[in-house]
């Protein structure tokens, strides 16, 4: 039985009808990635909301930060693992495989990050992400101190917190709209057979 090929059960805009600024982004995605990520398509039914989502996303994931881009993607995948979000696990799992050059690391982040061999700093970040996602009411000074003890600055703490928070938003949008990831992600950065 073929798997769903919709972008979102709530529909998507016809790309031909998009505003010029969005059309330009669509074109740039195709040029750089070969496809437009379906999360953009899912948000395209409400163009202003799409713009806000992209602005926030780009700042959190791509702006300079004490957390590397790979670390932010690892956090994204661990949050999505806690929330069992299919879209984000597929799309950001691919990003971890690509950025790290380590396909197993991507699988570990998606399936159970505790099996990975990680620097203590990264393990502390992921433990924080898990607690903040599953029991945010328990987060307290002890949890923040564990991150400072690994060398994270107050600015790093802010960035980590916002990354975790953002994927708690996007995971839920994906689940609520049954968002399907682009098929290209499945093939990306897979290991070669030995």
């Amino acid at each position: 039985m073929p798997q769903p090929d919709h972008i979102s059960v709530l529909g998507a805009a016809d790309p031909a009808t998009l505003d010029p600024d969005l059309k330009a982004i669509w074109d740039k995605c195709v040029e750089k990635l070969g496809f437009v990520p379906n999360v953009y398509g899912a948000y395209s039914v409400k163009p202003q909301r799409l713009r806000h989502f992209m602005q926030m996303y780009n700042e959190i994931m791509l702006a300079p930060s004490g957390l590397s881009k790979l670390e932010r993607e690892m956090v994204a995948v661990v949050v999505s693992s806690a929330n069992r979000c299919y879209y984000c696990l597929v799309a950001h799992g691919a990003a971890v495989r690509r950025l790290s050059g380590d396909p197993e690391l991507g699988e570990m982040m998606a399936l159970n990050y505790r099996v990975a061999k990680l620097p203590a700093r990264q393990r502390a970040m992921l433990d924080f992400a898990w607690t903040m996602t599953t029991t945010p009411w328990l987060i307290g000074e002890t949890d923040r101190e564990a991150l400072r003890a690994q060398g994270l600055t107050e600015s790093d703490l802010f960035d980590l917190a916002e990354t975790v928070a953002f994927f708690n938003l996007s995971n839920r949008m994906a689940s609520a709209t049954d968002m399907m990831p682009n098929r290209e992600y499945h093939a990306e950065a897979r290991p070669k057979l030995p």
Copy 2:
């Protein structure tokens, strides 16, 4: 023992040093509300992120939608109740009291929404918000159908989902930074003694 009076444990910008666009928003808040919501202060350490947060927030909570502003605030409070987020329960609980003119309704949303007497449509929205917050991986077509059966359109579903998703972000930022709500909220729209 006096309760904490910080804005965020990660600090806040000196308002005197804010960029002009943000300073203007600070002034407008003081003019309209009498104070600047501490969530803005907490984000002010990273001005660009503050801008994105405000843009997204304003669109979700204030733009035209099939969900009334009160309904969106009710959703905000129920999500915050599931996540036991002190900041958002205090700030948005006050909003429900004010917008509804029913102080008990605000308390019910914060403490256990299931005790409230609500139109079936609103109860369905809040049940969806609870599931999407606590077990997003279980959301499926059955849950969406329950909303459509109450007359929600696909556009309403999108708005509801994004409201729930957004407060799952903001609740976690508040918990991660130990954000304290402005004291004014506690007094707002309380009932008079009979």
Copy 3:
């Protein structure tokens, strides 16, 4: 939509028909508080059970103890928060506001006690109350030792345990009978607008 104004979905006795001892208590409540707490009304359908409930309640909450009356009310609210009991959170949240003269403290106890700034002794008591309420099977000597380390005597431990246990009873009676709190509580001991 107006909120429920019943005392309990299982009904309440007509005050005119109450036995003299209970009628005297009703009169005293009106004289002292201005109203009869609805929990008494809810129990009045079974007068003997009401008497037992009041006797136990009065001893636990008002008799001399190593725990102050405020501390016992704080415990009551934290237990009710874990159980999301609307009636007890409203009624005893008001008591914390009144006894402490600190309206924020009452809100913190109801919404997430971990955000409050508290003496270590009180924090230990509330942590014990949370564990005893949510996972009583895990309580062991380690938990009791944490309280003794804060100076609680064996008698204090008994009083703390009984307070926690009692509100685990009353929370469930309130939820099972859909007990509604008296509206006066909502207005009690609220802060003035600054």
Copy 4:
């Protein structure tokens, strides 16, 4: 390694020093049961609280009610099973074996009541007890209607709710004080080898 033989880790009064009314109860227990239930011993450090506990217990478990004494004991054991309370499972498990003449029924109530073959009315009562114990905030009119559909009156609903509520109190007192059941219960009403 011999198992604990204390009554409660918080101690117990020397029976010789008890007030006459309590001494009379001690004597009556020995006469009728052959021993004084340890829950009385555990409470004896605070005589007034013991009196209140016994009064409430006797009314709930022994007074006339639409629920039979066996049904009330079954409810007690199922609540104690949800709370994994050793004392109450041992003491009231024995009561179910004795009152029902069916030793397996007692074991089923203690270990997993869903395996028992029960009249629909009793199954509904136990399902209600389980929900009221583990997620009291979810109890609503649907749950009460399920009981009324089995013929329970409003008075029966009150009695069921109070029984559940009471064992949520006593389970927690037992866990908090590490109360040990009298050894006699283990031998009571066991089946003969075939």
Copy 5:
């Protein structure tokens, strides 16, 4: 209402039709125990699967190991307690009573093992069994180190893990097939009335 007397809701083979090797085992069980454990009956509908189950069971529970037979039975009961498996709690609870000569120990393992007074080594084994059963994804080197600190060898760790794993299999077969324990277990190794 008499309790179920089936072996399994999925049926059982007629013992007269069993293959000779299985018939021999049936005969030996009757000779040694007085009855054939119903778990064998439940598996007898698929003889080859029964053989595999018995081989694995016998090796895990009876082969030489750094864990005593009693310790393996204690682990079996604690796993079954976490899974609330009626069949295994009854059958292996009886084994703990018999092998230990301490009927209370059997009840403690079944109802809440944390109340038992145990050597630190056994407590560590049971804590490991509980975590491995309820949240296996959290097991890590810290948990294994806690066992090594009590003197368990790598071989002991293997045997402990396999015992826990096996009862997570058998508990689920029992629940899925509504397997009923033989009535003889209820009477076995019960204490005499003092």
Copy 6:
């Protein structure tokens, strides 16, 4: 940081020292698969236990059954997803991709099976597997009836139950021993870039 390359933290036998029957299996694995699955290596420290594990595994996964081999692998992956078992998700996720020829189906089973488009019969099997894994004590006749309504026979129910039960065993052995999957699985049956 390179990921772990051990077979199991409890070690593995030197293949050169294996008994002839096991050596033959090792050779056959290399011939057919190109490698020996690490679960065999992990068990090889206890040869007799390895034999029992392989016999049970082969019968459950490969013997004739009303459930297809693909269906049994889908069940294996969904159980492993509930238990967040890295080893089994990697190894059996590869099997679902290979047997189905649908790489997305494998990812869906591992990450959140509820997003897959499946025949009602398979969805019912996977829902049963999830409940049996996470809350086995709740399984009852209603759950079995849901399977029979999809055409499963009593024999199919047995096979489904045993498959679920078996992976609840193997998931826990893998977590307890930190078993690492062979790297070949990661590359197996991945989609080609479009």
